[in-house]
């Protein structure tokens, strides 16, 4: 530091801070593995399994046990039988692919739409109501129509996913782009920033926390859209939704529960992944990224 200007910067630092970045940003590393942290949810899981076994073995007559097959039977039949496992995994892969392709398309189109809406008020006025519409129309009721027009293959299924999950991306991105403080805009104006510069160096980074909020919601919806949409298609190559439907009609309850567990896992993994990504990208400077995680 320079003595001649009489500055005392770091002195103040010791008096008032700085708060080290790590202490605020990261969760207490080791603490997360302690009993107090993992104990309660683990206890709930154990209780849940106990009730499940209780219903299977104590409540139900052996002839009716197929209604609630015990957990180990679900795992044995669904995941340890090579044939069943192959069938489940094939369907899971198909649904995952549909969900991810749909999500990727939604991200690209959603971001572009939000940027366009942010750029011109008339574009926002023209398109936003229809973006809202995707949330209000019963998309699943349109599945027969899509099948009719585009067949029951991946195109229609992906279309359903896109309609399911594009709105949260558009809405959150637009909100983020428009949330920039006026003073920040003033700074960029004062120094002659172009629209592109302003978008890229100010609005987009400022919008990142909201964009990630939108992505997390959209990712969850994409999984739901892929699986539930699949159930409605009923035809074509089976995704996990079709399998669930099929197992149900054949009373193969172990495999049905197995398929439901797999689709839940897919949802959890996707949700966790975007939470992880958000923490990596904006966790260093934004509080929202410290938010709920599992």
């Amino acid at each position: 530091m320079s003595i001649d200007t009489g500055f005392s910067g770091p002195d103040e630092a010791t008096a008032q801070g700085p708060v080290t970045a790590t202490s605020r940003v990261l969760p207490p590393g080791r603490g997360r593995w302690r009993l107090a942290f993992w104990g309660p949810p683990a206890a709930v899981l154990v209780a849940f399994l106990a009730i499940w076994y209780g219903v299977s073995y104590l409540l139900l007559d052996p002839r009716r046990r197929f209604l609630v097959p015990p957990p180990h039977e679900v795992i044995r039949v669904s995941f340890f039988d090579p044939f069943n496992l192959k069938e489940l995994m094939g369907a899971l892969w198909l649904s995952t692919r549909v969900a991810f392709i749909g999500l990727a398309i939604s991200i690209v189109i959603g971001l572009l739409l939000a940027v366009a809406m942010n750029r011109a008020k008339w574009i926002e006025r023209s398109l936003y109501p229809y973006a809202v519409l995707t949330q209000t129309i019963p998309i699943l009721a349109m599945v027969p129509l899509f099948g009719f027009w585009f067949g029951f293959g991946n195109f229609s299924r992906t279309l359903v996913v896109v309609l399911f999950c594009i709105f949260p991306i558009v809405a959150n991105t637009l909100f983020g782009l428009q949330s920039v403080q006026r003073e920040h805009h003033d700074l960029f104006t004062l120094h002659g920033a172009s629209r592109m510069t302003r978008l890229w160096k100010l609005q987009f980074p400022a919008a990142l926390p909201s964009i990630f909020t939108g992505l997390r919601i959209a990712a969850g919806l994409a999984v739901i859209g892929a699986i539930v949409g699949d159930t409605f298609f009923k035809q074509g190559e089976p995704g996990i939704g079709i399998l669930i439907d099929r197992y149900q009609s054949r009373l193969q309850s172990e495999q049905m529960v197995g398929a439901i567990i797999l689709s839940s896992l897919l949802g959890i993994v996707v949700f966790w992944f975007f939470g992880f990504l958000a923490r990596r990208v904006v966790g260093g400077w934004h509080e929202s990224a410290d938010g709920p995680d599992t």
Partner: protein, 258 residues
């Protein structure tokens, strides 16, 4: 004008041609609010002019017009330089950028080469005593340090006219007085001209070569007080009898204009 009796103009830094001229400037917003009405004053090169006034009197509007962010709706504004620094009450740092990247922002927007940006940022951070904090994010810094980063960011463009919009208004008194001293040091070493908006009479008198008092909305200039104390100014000046008398006179005009 009131206050002329205490003038001992010998200590005021070099007076040159006006760097900033407001001639009968008014500003009426679209909703009909009149923020400024006939604001009339000049700031000469090298002066440190403070503007005090009741809140909502159009002080910020004055700066926005001077910087070109906003246009006057009447009168004439002349600014004899395009090297203008502008510091807001909020440090307005970009939270995703490190201190270093924040300080480089303006040179980046102006399209300076990377080497030059680095050099200027390093020099500016040195001036505000934050060379050791280049890698920190704003949220890891105290309020006073953030304001220093904001000052450093503007210093990188070596402004000739520095506009301050209540820069220390949100800070505690100790930090505020320390930053007053530090800003005066910068004023003496960097030789910029300053237009400093504040609601604190003490701060205005302590910092400035001249204090302008504005009336409540619509804002007009009610008083123009030259401040006769020599630089460098010691913090003890705040307890000097002559300082108290001048501050009292400024306050009296300020109260009268409410």
């Amino acid at each position: 004008m009131a206050g002329s009796s205490v003038v001992d103009a010998s200590s005021i830094p070099t007076q040159t041609a006006p760097l900033l001229t407001f001639a009968d400037v008014s500003k009426r917003f679209r909703d009909g609010t009149v923020a400024l009405d006939g604001a009339d004053f000049r700031v000469a090169g090298g002066e440190f002019v403070s503007v005090v006034g009741p809140s909502g009197c159009g002080k910020s509007t004055l700066l926005r017009i001077a910087s070109g962010l906003s246009d006057a709706t009447g009168g004439k504004v002349q600014v004899a330089t395009d090297k203008i620094g502008y510091v807001f009450q909020d440090p307005t740092l970009l939270p995703w950028r490190t201190v270093q990247a924040n300080v480089e922002l303006f040179s980046e927007l102006r399209g300076l080469a990377k080497e030059e940006r680095r050099r200027r940022a390093a020099a500016a951070l040195e001036l505000v005593g934050l060379s050791e904090f280049t890698g920190h994010r704003p949220r890891a810094l105290s309020g006073g340090m953030r304001m220093r980063v904001s000052l450093a960011r503007s210093l990188t463009l070596e402004p000739e006219l520095f506009l301050f919009d209540e820069p220390f208004g949100a800070l505690d008194e100790i930090t505020r007085e320390r930053l007053n001293d530090e800003l005066l040091q910068l004023y003496l070493t960097q030789r910029f001209t300053a237009l400093f908006v504040t609601h604190s009479v003490m701060e205005a008198v302590f910092m400035s070569t001249r204090v302008l008092v504005m009336s409540g909305r619509p804002g007009r200039v009610l008083g123009d007080f030259p401040v006769p104390f020599e630089y460098p100014r010691s913090p003890r000046l705040r307890f000097d009898e002559r300082f108290a008398r001048l501050a009292g006179q400024v306050s009296a005009v300020l109260r009268g204009g409410r």
